[in-house]
């Protein structure tokens, strides 16, 4: 018999609780006592631990209100037949105990990630606020407002937010529209383009919008952007280690169900791209690693934690300027915009937690040199010689098969600092 | 003026007006009667969309009051104004067309029963607001005086209006400025359902003239000659620059206030008593008695009026409706935008 995971009563007059975040997904093995999910009541938010060890099935979708004592998931033993998911959570006692029956395709129960939002704003939280002018600008530029952080009241996107994005990508002549896809991680893809798609994985503390300058160069191809857990619009999952992160990102990659892709990753995203290429080599037409992590122990831990800690433009700006060689390209409005994208304290907390796991004590806790040795796909490494986050000489550890392109006067963000050249190089590949 | 056959004891109208004028007056009274009956009939046939206020029984007041007016003289009228229009020489076809809401109507279908006007004949229009025409009449008289046109304005109003502030303000100003205006109160005893006895502190509305230092007389409004005599005197006084007068024509509307009236405030006896005093019968008898018309000629006039109304209704029915896209035309002069 599966073990019921119930909505616990955590305070006196609590009648129900809301599932905010799951730390494990359908089919994951969870260990008794490990944090399993967060709940929110009228009074408090609380982390709930797994009541037993087992394989998680049928977790209640995030955002669901469940009465106390009612099951929110079931933990099955290895090999145990999995019952059907309940019709609803907590409403009918009959539905609370699914009859064990073989199920061929367990569906991920999580329909969409709902970030914890102040009460009263819940209904609006999934709707992007934007002024008419911002909407019109975005419409004209072919931009999806969803990708644009707003600096206005209550996160409203205003014209200058859209403009800043356009300014930041001067080559962004015929910009690209993204549409949200459902899935455990936030994945967006262009509507146009033909041929082998390009999959982009951003770096730590960044998000999919950082690819904007490159997108214009690549727009003849379908472009797919994966956002890391705890970044952009992806759910803020608890990540145990680099392998767990790879697992999440790879699942998102697998869900794309593509035969062949050109895979591009930046920094931490480069390490992830490499890890995916290592295990999904047949799907990878080419691999482009921009200032990738995973090739050496050094990393600028101060900058990473500084960025995670910053909760206002004044404290974020200096760290952002460390990312680039020419500080003048990090304008005040760029910083404001970046801060707006990081306004959610839960997002910053999630990233801090991730940094703790991946870069403890300012050291890269994962090593992908072996993977780089193993893979046979065409690979090129791009690096700025003024990179102050990860030293470019890590690139020298790559095998001779991999091409190496070094840019003088460029820091950790070649895809922004010299987007044209980066775009040309990638294009030459694909 | 009548000539050799003057009967010195004859009523004022007979002494004062030619047979042709008197015959024409009776013709107009018949036209009013037939217009109202035609309107009522059209309403009952579902041809007319709004309500109406019929003046059947008040024809002597309308026609008699306007006897000495020319087209240069003005009138302002009331919601019960069809008779005033006819008395002021309106075209019956255009009146009916307006009644039917047609583009060929006096107001191109925009005004309806309560706003029929013919500025070219000096008729400044009926009015849907009780007392609404009173200050306007004073204004018209002010224009006449300032511009020296010599025109006189007759201001028709009902007994109900005499309790409106506009009545008092208007009479006062007309008197203060000695304006050429004659206030003709058609007292048909009821403001909708409320009798003058219940609504008005003075017995005769004409008594209120004293408050504004102007002559006030009360006459039998169903007696054509009596009406003519009183109003003519007031018009002459106005034309002579001696200022306004108030004439009260006591009359009666045979029909209810409007089509919604269930006649709960007056008795059948009262109505039939007034119907016995039909102003048209009285006028016919007067003209026959003074050998101005024969009985057959009277009948001929009535028949003629019936035919005019029939033609007018046909004209109206066959006329085009206004175009919907023109609904906002004529709010401002020459389509000035709003």
């Amino acid at each position: 018999m599966p073990v019921e995971v119930i909505m616990p009563k955590v305070d006196m007059d609590m009648a129900k609780g809301k599932i905010v975040t799951w730390y494990a997904s359908e089919g994951d093995f969870v260990t008794k006592g490990a944090p399993l999910f967060d709940i929110e009541t009228d009074k408090a938010a609380m982390e709930i631990e797994a009541p037993d060890s087992g394989i998680l099935h049928h977790p209640a979708p995030e955002g669901t209100d469940v009465p106390i004592g009612k099951p929110v998931a079931w933990l099955y033993a290895e090999g145990e037949a999995v019952g059907a998911p309940p019709a609803s959570y907590g409403a009918e006692p009959a539905a609370a105990s699914p009859a064990p029956a073989p199920v061929s395709e367990p569906e991920p129960a999580r329909a969409e990630a709902v970030a914890p939002a102040p009460r009263g704003d819940v209904a609006l939280s999934d709707k992007q606020r934007a002024t008419p002018r911002a909407r019109a600008l975005a419409r004209e530029a072919g931009l999806d407002l969803d990708g644009i952080p707003g600096t206005g009241p209550r996160g409203r996107v205003q014209a200058e937010d859209v403009q800043a994005l356009l300014d930041r990508a001067p080559a962004f002549a015929a910009p690209v529209a993204f549409s949200a896809e459902t899935g455990p991680l936030s994945v967006t893809r262009t509507k146009g383009g033909t041929g082998t798609p390009v999959v982009l994985i951003h770096g730590f503390a960044s998000d999919a919008t950082s690819w904007a300058p490159l997108e214009a160069q690549l727009k003849h191809r379908p472009i797919i952007r994966i956002e890391l857990p705890g970044h952009g619009k992806s759910p803020k999952l608890r990540i145990a280690n680099f392998a767990a992160l790879v697992k999440d990102v790879r699942r998102a990659f697998d869900d794309l169900n593509l035969e062949q892709v050109h895979l591009v990753g930046h920094s931490l995203g480069g390490a992830l791209a490499l890890a995916i290429a290592d295990t999904r080599e047949r799907s990878i037409a080419s691999l482009t690693l921009i200032a990738p992590a995973g090739l050496g122990p050094e990393v600028n831990g101060d900058a990473l934690s500084g960025i995670c800690r910053a909760n206002r433009p004044e404290s974020l700006g200096p760290w952002l300027r460390r990312l680039v060689a020419d500080e003048t390209i990090i304008t005040d409005s760029y910083v404001r915009l970046a801060m707006a994208g990081r306004a959610d304290p839960n997002l910053r907390a999630a990233q801090s937690a991730l940094a703790e796991v991946l870069f403890p004590d300012g050291v890269q806790a994962f090593d992908l040199r072996a993977a780089l040795e193993r893979i046979a796909v065409p690979t090129r490494i791009l690096w700025g010689k003024q990179d102050d986050i990860i030293p470019w000489h890590h690139a020298l550890r790559a095998p001779g098969r991999a091409a190496l392109h070094l840019f003088g006067g460029v820091g950790h963000m070649p895809q922004i600092e010299c987007a044209d050249e980066v775009g040309q190089l990638i294009k030459a590949y694909i | 003026m009548a000539d050799t056959l003057v009967e010195t004891n004859a009523p004022y109208a007979i002494r004062t007006y030619s047979p042709e004028q008197l015959k024409d007056a009776l013709r107009k009274m018949f036209l009013i009667r037939k217009f109202e009956e035609g309107a009522e009939d059209s309403y009952m046939r579902g041809l007319i969309h709004g309500t109406m206020h019929l003046s059947i029984g008040q024809e002597a007041s309308a026609v008699g009051s306007c006897m000495s007016l020319t087209d240069a003289d003005k009138i302002t009228s009331t919601h019960r104004g069809h008779g005033h229009c006819v008395a002021k020489n309106a075209d019956l076809g255009k009146m009916f067309a307006e009644f039917f809401g047609k583009e060929t109507g006096y107001c191109k279908g925009r005004g309806g029963s309560m706003h029929i006007a013919d500025p070219s004949k000096g008729n400044l229009g009926a009015n849907g607001i009780v007392g609404g025409g009173l200050p306007i009449a004073v204004g018209a008289a002010l224009s006449a005086k300032r511009l020296g046109t010599g025109a006189v304005t007759i201001c028709f109003f009902g007994d109900g209006a005499n309790n409106e502030g506009a009545f008092h303000e208007s009479l006062n100003m007309a008197a203060v400025w000695k304006l050429p205006v004659v206030f003709v109160c058609e007292n048909n005893k009821y403001g909708m359902s409320t009798s003058t006895a219940r609504s008005t502190a003075v017995k005769n509305i004409a008594e209120r003239a004293a408050a504004y230092s102007m002559p006030g007389v009360t006459v039998d409004g169903n007696d054509f000659s009596a009406v003519t005599e009183a109003v003519d005197a007031a018009v002459a006084r106005a034309r002579a620059g001696e200022g306004p007068s108030l004439v009260e024509n006591l009359t009666y509307r045979w029909r209810g206030h409007s089509k919604s009236d269930r006649n709960r405030y007056r008795t059948k006896e009262e109505i039939s008593e007034w119907m016995e005093r039909d102003p048209i019968v009285a006028m016919s008898n007067l003209l026959v008695a003074h050998k101005i018309l024969s009985e057959a000629e009277v009948a001929g006039l009535e028949e003629q009026a019936t035919q005019v109304i029939k033609d007018a209704i046909e004209f109206a029915a066959a006329s085009p409706d206004p175009r919907i896209e023109d609904a906002t035309r004529d709010v401002y002069t020459e389509g000035a935008a709003a």
Binding site: P132 | G109, R110, I136, L142, A144, E169
Partner: protein
């Protein structure tokens, strides 16, 4: 500005400018008559007609009895029959006594009669608060009349416009209602000599700017201008539009400005709810200029109460310069 042009710029008060317009009209058109309470030897409650009675006599500058309804109606009737009356209400508040004639008669006669007549009538309404005259002598009721098709409703804010708009109103064949703010009567400004008209239905851009649009009426134009100067020193470049005509409203000028600035503040003294600013806002929201809005529209209008007597309260219930500053700053800085 050199000395020569300075001498050319003759200054008059707002009241003098109106009087000059009436003087020109009386002198040039026999049909023009002035009507109103105490506008003769008294010179008008605010000395707008002044000594015109001495020049034109009591037949042309007519004291009416205290009969707003009757007097307004006489003016309507006179306008219908060949005169061009300029009817002065002693206070705009007293228009309530005459609404029947203004709304049911003057505004509608032309339409009701199928266009066969017109009512070339001008009515003048001393309006607004700031005189300590309390609730029945301080209102701004332009929106009441602005709601009536058939009327034109003006709110000149400068002496030059006060004269030009009155002369334009006299040229207009339809009834024109002019709201004159009492506080403005003594305000001086350049007024051209002789005959000229200021177009009805055309707003004036009093100060061009790029960051936000302030649409103001009457007295509020001056407050908006004062605020705009302060804002300019702070780097906020406000465009101030003097609406001048409430009906018909100048759509194009307002929409073009909002398309440019993306931000709109409406400032008007009448009660905020269902007032002039509501119409301006709706006009923008319903138009293509909507797509240019980069912040919510802000309305600053009179409080939801009668005008109180106490001077501090009186100030508090109508928009003041600091209110405009707050709104503009919040708007410009994306705080609203």
């Amino acid at each position: 500005m050199n000395a020569m042009t300075k001498t050319e710029l003759r200054e008059l008060s707002y009241a003098e400018a109106i009087r000059e317009a009436m003087d020109i009209a009386l002198a040039s058109d026999e049909r023009v008559v002035l009507m109103g309470e105490d506008i003769g030897v008294y010179g008008g409650a605010f000395q707008v007609t002044g000594d015109l009675v001495e020049k034109y006599g009591t037949d042309r500058v007519m004291d009416t009895p205290i009969s707003e309804l009757g007097g307004a109606g006489v003016a309507v009737g006179a306008a219908l029959t060949g005169l061009k009356p300029i009817f002065e209400f002693q206070f705009s508040d007293f228009a309530a006594l005459a609404m029947e004639q203004i709304v049911n008669q003057a505004a509608k006669v032309r339409y009701m009669l199928g266009g066969s007549v017109s009512v070339p009538l001008v009515m003048r309404f001393p309006a607004g608060s700031g005189t300590g005259a309390a609730a029945q002598h301080s209102q701004s009721i332009e929106a009441w009349l602005g709601h009536v098709p058939g009327l034109k409703v003006l709110q000149p804010s400068t002496p030059e416009d006060a004269k030009g708009m009155l002369l334009a109103a006299l040229e207009d064949p339809d009834p024109v209602m002019i709201f004159e703010h009492k506080i403005l009567y003594k305000m001086k400004g350049h007024v051209p000599e002789g005959y000229y008209t200021t177009p009805i239905g055309k707003a004036a851009i009093r100060r061009p700017g790029k960051d936000l649009t302030i649409v103001a009426t009457s007295m509020m134009v001056h407050k908006a201008m004062a605020a705009a100067e302060t804002l300019a020193a702070e780097g906020i470049d406000a465009e101030v539009i003097d609406l001048r005509t409430v009906r018909p409203m100048d759509r194009e000028t307002v929409l073009a400005s909002v398309r440019k600035t993306g931000r709109l503040v409406c400032v008007y003294e009448g009660v905020k709810t269902l007032g002039v600013g509501a119409e301006v806002s709706a006009m923008v929201a319903e138009s293509d200029a909507f797509d240019f809005l980069d912040a919510p529209i802000v309305r600053l209008g009179g409080a939801e109460c009668p005008i109180p007597y106490n001077p501090e309260l009186e100030k508090a219930v109508v928009p003041q310069v600091p209110d405009i500053l707050d709104a503009a700053r919040n708007l410009a800085k994306g705080r609203i």
